[in-house]
């Protein structure tokens, strides 16, 4: 059989996937781009072509400017915080102790419920009223008055990031754990014969060999952080003011609530490009790092 025919059969198997990918990803993206050049309001299909005017409006919009800065802060801070918690947690869970499976399950548990549900539960914990658990503890133990965890601009930003780290650390610890278990024990035995201590082994063997896991985990955290909606929305509704508005929330606000579908589409295209550029540079940089250490 000619070589091209042999390869064609593999290509044919990709056609169904390509069709679905085109239908559910490429087509909506193209359609969004078309809408972004119109004054479509989300209801009336008699819309007009308005050129780039929606794109020009974006950076004059207080909500989107605030949304971009908070979303970047959220994505970067939650990525750093989760990584700093997940790697040590994975190292501990990798130890061979009696209750290791129970502990793995406990730390993985916050990843199971939806972010929205978790945030609602945290909303009760952080509430500034008599049923707010955290404020009650502060009052009973330290005789402190209620703290505005979700209404002070700085505290609200901090709390959304902490709740995100609490929810995501376990899942990423399991990801690191999977990679840790793939590291050959021979390296550690050789290092120990050479007199390396535990910290030396972590620094010179574990962390470098975890580089591929870090590339994957950080890419997932950054893209997830940039696309975040549920946790800040459920905790603060984006407030106070625009302080914890995320880009996705602004897109929904302008598109659905304010029936400016064309503007929201332009925002989503710009947002898509921002995520694409950030992810591209992050993965390229971290893959080069992998090549250096492996």
């Amino acid at each position: 059989m000619p070589k091209f025919l042999k390869q064609l059969q593999y290509q044919l198997f990709l056609i169904p996937i390509l069709l679905f990918y085109t239908l559910f990803t490429i087509y909506p993206l193209i359609k969004s781009f078309i809408f972004s050049l119109t004054d479509f309001n989300g209801y009336n299909k008699n819309y007009n072509f308005v050129g780039m005017s929606n794109y020009l409006k974006i950076f004059k919009d207080d909500a989107i400017v605030s949304g971009i800065s908070y979303t970047l802060l959220y994505a970067i801070s939650s990525t750093v915080l989760i990584t700093l918690v997940a790697i040590p947690l994975a190292l501990i869970l990798d130890q061979n102790f009696f209750t290791k499976n129970i502990h793995r399950a406990i730390f993985f548990f916050p990843s199971i419920p939806s972010g929205l549900l978790l945030a609602y539960i945290w909303g009760f914990i952080l509430a500034p009223i008599s049923s707010g658990v955290l404020n009650t503890v502060l009052r009973e133990v330290f005789n402190l008055g209620p703290q505005p965890w979700l209404s002070d601009p700085n505290l609200a930003k901090l709390m959304t990031i902490i709740v995100a780290a609490w929810a995501g650390a376990g899942w990423h610890a399991v990801l690191y754990l999977a990679f840790l278990q793939g590291i050959s024990k021979d390296y550690y035995e050789a290092a120990s014969i050479d007199g390396a201590g535990r910290w030396g082994q972590i620094r010179h063997i574990t962390l470098p060999l975890l580089a591929p896991a870090m590339t994957v985990s950080i890419m997932l955290l950054l893209t997830g952080g940039l696309k975040v909606f549920e946790i800040p929305f459920a905790l603060t509704r984006g407030g106070p003011g625009f302080e914890t508005h995320t880009i996705t929330q602004v897109i929904v606000l302008r598109g659905i609530s304010e029936v400016q579908y064309g503007l929201a589409s332009a925002m989503s295209i710009v947002f898509f490009l921002i995520v694409l550029v950030i992810t591209f540079f992050q993965v390229s940089w971290m893959q080069k790092r992998e090549e250096r250490v492996l």
Partner: protein, 434 residues
């Protein structure tokens, strides 16, 4: 290898057939819709033909059950595909998605927040001359109308105001509910001195306090003020600044309304009032069941929102949302039969029974809980109520969001009362030039 090619080709063929079938169904659905738009309906409610009417409601299934069951007992050939989405944003976005994808239900709700888009998009049929529209209050029609035509039927209205806890007022030595704004602020400070939290507000929304204050200060002098703002003959800055100043100096500067309230949810506020932890909240008839369930011994009543001008106090309130008929329904006549039943004394009673809503249809007397009777009689029936989102003719959601965000900024110490009003003018101009 020939066998492999055969399998691959078979898979592609199956897939093509599946996709063609999907396309074919869509085409049929569209055709059916078009045919029925032209008036080729499936038959009358009494024809005996089995019909399934679909409804998207923001009242849940439990609230709608008596009405639907009562209708089915009368018209056994008509059954329901009932769908629910909670108000307001979830409902509006679900309906919007359904309308755009040609999968909207036969009957759906129009609210102030989406009426312009529904009517302009031609999604609802004109009900103006339907016989059952005679029972709808004239005052309820403008919210669901455009250019003199009414596109939905509403049988309800609501009124809201300040719920106050009588025991906590008595504990602080306050014997009567304050009549004016200054007396209201003084009462809040007295409650605070007695160690009682005077007032919680849902600052995550446009608060009812603003509605009452604006009505007392501005609307009472000029009933057409909203129309003038939207015609460019007046501005938010000219008409709303006084309201925002009173609100800030009375509630924010005296720390009666504090920044931590931004973090409260509506449910938390209602529960705190129900268990007696706060003396006043704003709310409406929908809170009564929660109060009764959480604390049957609670002594409370609804009062109007006090304003600076004595005797001119208002409640918050508006006509209820209306049921509209999809212009592409296959069952127009059955849908009209359903609305006729809803407008009948039997249907109104069934709806009241399930939802607990105030019925405002002509010739029907609603049964009202004593705690809200004064608000019902002095507010709703006398027309002493106001809600900006209903009175504003366009861009309600955009302005509401701007209102809320600017108010929150003011509470946390950013911005000024003039700034909120100017931000609304800016938003209106931006939306008009969109």
């Amino acid at each position: 290898m020939k066998k492999s090619y055969g399998i691959v080709l078979a898979v592609i063929l199956c897939l093509s057939v599946m996709l063609t079938a999907c396309g074919g169904n869509n085409g049929n659905a569209t055709n059916a819709g078009n045919t029925n738009t032209s008036g080729d309906v499936g038959g009358s409610g009494n024809s005996g033909k089995k019909v399934k009417l679909s409804i998207l409601s923001w009242n849940n299934e439990k609230e709608m059950a008596p009405l639907l069951e009562g209708f089915q007992a009368k018209y056994p050939n008509i059954s329901f595909d009932f769908q629910h989405a909670p108000p307001v944003k979830d409902y509006i976005s679900k309906l919007q998605t359904m309308l755009l994808s040609h999968s909207a239900t036969d009957i759906f709700i129009i609210a102030a927040e989406n009426r312009n888009e529904i009517i302009d998009g031609g999604y609802a049929i004109d009900l103006t001359n339907e016989p059952f529209m005679d029972v709808m209050l004239e005052g309820n029609k403008p919210m669901l109308s455009k250019n003199g035509k009414t596109y939905a039927f509403t049988q309800t209205g609501w009124v809201g105001g300040l719920w106050y806890n009588k025991d906590l007022f008595a504990k602080a030595g306050i014997t009567t509910f304050p009549e004016t704004w200054d007396e209201f602020i003084a009462a809040c400070l007295t409650l605070k001195e007695a160690g009682i939290i005077p007032y919680y507000d849902n600052v995550g929304d446009v608060t009812m306090i603003h509605d009452g204050l604006f009505a007392n200060t501005t609307l009472a002098k000029d009933a057409d003020i909203d129309a003038k703002i939207f015609e460019g003959k007046a501005t938010f800055e000219q008409s709303w600044t006084e309201t925002f100043k009173l609100w800030k100096s009375g509630l924010v500067d005296n720390k009666i309304l504090t920044a931590d309230m931004i973090g409260l949810t509506a449910d938390q506020i209602v529960n705190e009032f129900a268990v007696g932890n706060v003396a006043m909240i704003t709310g409406g008839p929908w809170n009564i069941n929660t109060f009764k369930e959480a604390n049957p011994d609670l002594k409370y009543e609804m009062a109007p929102i006090p304003g600076p001008n004595p005797g001119g106090n208002y409640y918050a309130g508006a006509p209820g949302v209306g049921l509209a008929i999809n212009s592409k329904t296959k069952y127009k006549e059955e849908a009209l039969t359903f609305l006729s039943y809803l407008a009948s004394p039997e249907g109104l009673k069934k709806f009241e029974e399930g939802s607990g809503a105030f019925i405002t249809a002509k010739g029907y007397e609603s049964t009202v809980s004593p705690e809200i009777e004064k608000a019902y009689k002095e507010g709703l029936l006398q027309g002493k109520f106001y809600l900006p989102m209903v009175s504003w003719p366009r861009h309600q959601e955009a302005l509401r969001n701007q209102f809320m965000i600017s108010s929150q900024d003011l509470i946390v110490g950013k911005g000024t009362p003039e700034g909120i009003a100017q931000a609304l003018d800016k938003k209106l101009a931006e939306m008009d030039n969109k």
